[in-house]
């Protein structure tokens, strides 16, 4: 089996328009959540979210591109450009033929759906723009990355709700580890912060109206975010041979299904995924120093996740650090695991643990060191990233410091 390293990272999210801005905001414990700015916001019961602001997409993309790129594709391309630029890779010949793109995404082109449903239902028009389908299909982001960077190997999109990015990155990891592809571009993207997207989430009654406070006894729900994270997963020898800067090694993953409930999380499903990732990576539980939690800030997730961590790690659960950066960048749904992987890379590479902000009061059901409110310095050898999706689909990744 091949070893797999990360040689490029890119992002755009509510905390920043690139990786350095995002990591700086995480170090500082900045909150990217604020009042939503969108049409008909006064008709929403939930009026906060972690929106990407100051984003002049029509300056970055030309008119023809704008006609074809939904916001989730725009985010993905911006993140991919940063990641590919950092990696220094260019794709031609055999490298191009074998390398591909696996992106996580849940909703597809929600902005496009929203706008065009308005056109036909609200405005009563009987004609929509001809590019509605190629804009909203949820493989559009992966496809446009493949086109822009000449990636001709396996490319597709993975949809598993809030675990989409982790499932996608696990797929990409497997492809590089097995020797099937020398390089895979992977991550996730989402843009569900439109009227219909927020309205749908409202209906489930799991959204907070004021803040995302994971693990805090005062938590009252999740807050939606938007954006993308994209990484270059590269076979280690390939990366070393060209003298690439290696950000971290991906050492294992596991995926499990609760097979129980369409929305309620399962302690066993989560703990089997965490334990499975350790087994796949061949690491002892004592080696894990940091977990980027799924940590949505809902009553159900946070206590279930903490008990799953306690089950797997035993006494070591009290020594490791676990934080939820969703408190800062919101829940990016299908893109969330990708942005959260940045916090794992920061922990491994820079020895800085991103905090769980908004933490107000300890909850006995979440009695772990959740790095409340302020970032912390720590030397981390192995980090995990958890994602537990609606539908009971769980995916955990394991990374090691290089």
């Amino acid at each position: 089996m091949k070893r797999v390293v990360i040689t490029g990272a890119g992002t755009i999210n509510a905390l920043g328009h690139n990786v350095s801005q995002t990591l700086e905001a995480m170090r500082e414990g900045h909150c990217g959540i604020g009042p939503l700015e969108m049409r008909d916001v006064e008709r929403l019961a939930v009026q906060i979210g972690a929106q990407v602001r100051g984003f002049a997409s029509d300056v970055i993309f030309n008119r023809q591109q704008m006609a074809l790129y939904d916001r989730f594709t725009q985010f993905a391309l911006i993140a991919a450009r940063e990641a590919l630029d950092q990696s220094g890779l260019e794709f031609s010949g055999a490298l191009s033929a074998k390398s591909g793109v696996v992106m996580g995404n849940s909703g597809g082109g929600m902005q496009t759906l929203d706008e065009n449903y308005r056109t036909v239902y609200e405005d009563g028009k009987n004609r929509v723009h001809p590019f509605v389908v190629p804009k909203l299909m949820n493989n559009a982001a992966a496809s446009h990355i493949s086109m822009e960077f000449n990636l001709k190997g396996p490319s597709f999109t993975v949809a598993s709700a809030c675990a989409s990015s982790n499932h996608a990155m696990a797929q990409a990891f497997q492809m590089v580890r097995s020797g099937m592809a020398p390089v895979m571009i992977t991550g996730g993207t989402e843009s569900m912060l439109c009227f219909g997207g927020v309205k749908a989430w409202e209906g489930l009654r799991v959204m907070s109206k004021d803040a995302c406070r994971p693990f805090s006894a005062t938590r009252n729900g999740m807050v939606q975010g938007e954006g993308a994270g994209v990484f270059v997963f590269e076979e280690m020898d390939h990366a070393k041979a060209r003298g690439a800067d290696i950000l971290a090694e991906v050492i294992g993953f596991a995926m499990t299904s609760d097979a129980a409930d369409i929305v309620m999380p399962s302690r066993q499903g989560a703990s089997r995924a965490i334990a499975g990732a350790l087994e796949d990576a061949g690491v002892n539980r004592e080696e894990v120093g940091y977990i980027n939690a799924h940590g949505t800030g809902t009553a159900a997730n946070d206590k279930t996740e903490c008990s799953a961590v306690a089950d797997v790690f035993g006494p070591h659960a009290d020594r490791l650090l676990i934080s939820s950066t969703k408190s800062m960048h919101g829940h990016l749904i299908g893109g969330t695991g990708a942005v959260e992987l940045l916090a794992c890379i920061m922990a491994l590479r820079d020895g800085v643990i991103a905090p769980t902000i908004g933490y107000e009061e300890a909850d006995p059901e979440c009695a772990l060191d959740v790095v409340p409110n302020e970032a912390r310095e720590a030397t981390i050898d192995v980090a995990l990233s958890n994602a537990f999706a609606f539908g009971g689909l769980n995916a955990v990744l394991a990374l090691r410091r290089v």
Partner: protein, 87 residues
């Protein structure tokens, strides 16, 4: 503006050209308009004139609407506009 000038303006915008560069005997291929550009142009023309253009991208040669040159497109639209019910 006449129907002709309005159609030429739409085609020129799609082709990223000046309207003066769009001649009556130009084909869409001459103008660099591909299949997606064609359906986008048809959409823009339908919006501009509030008409429905009978065009099927699967069999353009058999469509009632002749897209073989700018001149045939304009002629087809002039006919559709004339037949359209008064608003």
């Amino acid at each position: 503006m006449s129907v002709k000038d309005r159609v030429i303006a739409i085609v020129a915008e799609q082709a990223v050209l000046e309207p003066s560069d769009v001649t009556m005997d130009s084909t869409l291929e001459d103008l660099g308009i591909d299949s997606l550009g064609l359906v986008e142009s048809i959409f823009a023309i339908e919006e501009e004139f509030d008409i429905s253009i009978p065009f099927n991208a699967n069999e353009p040669e058999n469509s009632e609407f002749d897209i073989s040159s700018v001149a045939t497109i304009i002629a087809g639209i002039e006919k559709l506009v004339a037949e359209a019910p008064a608003a």
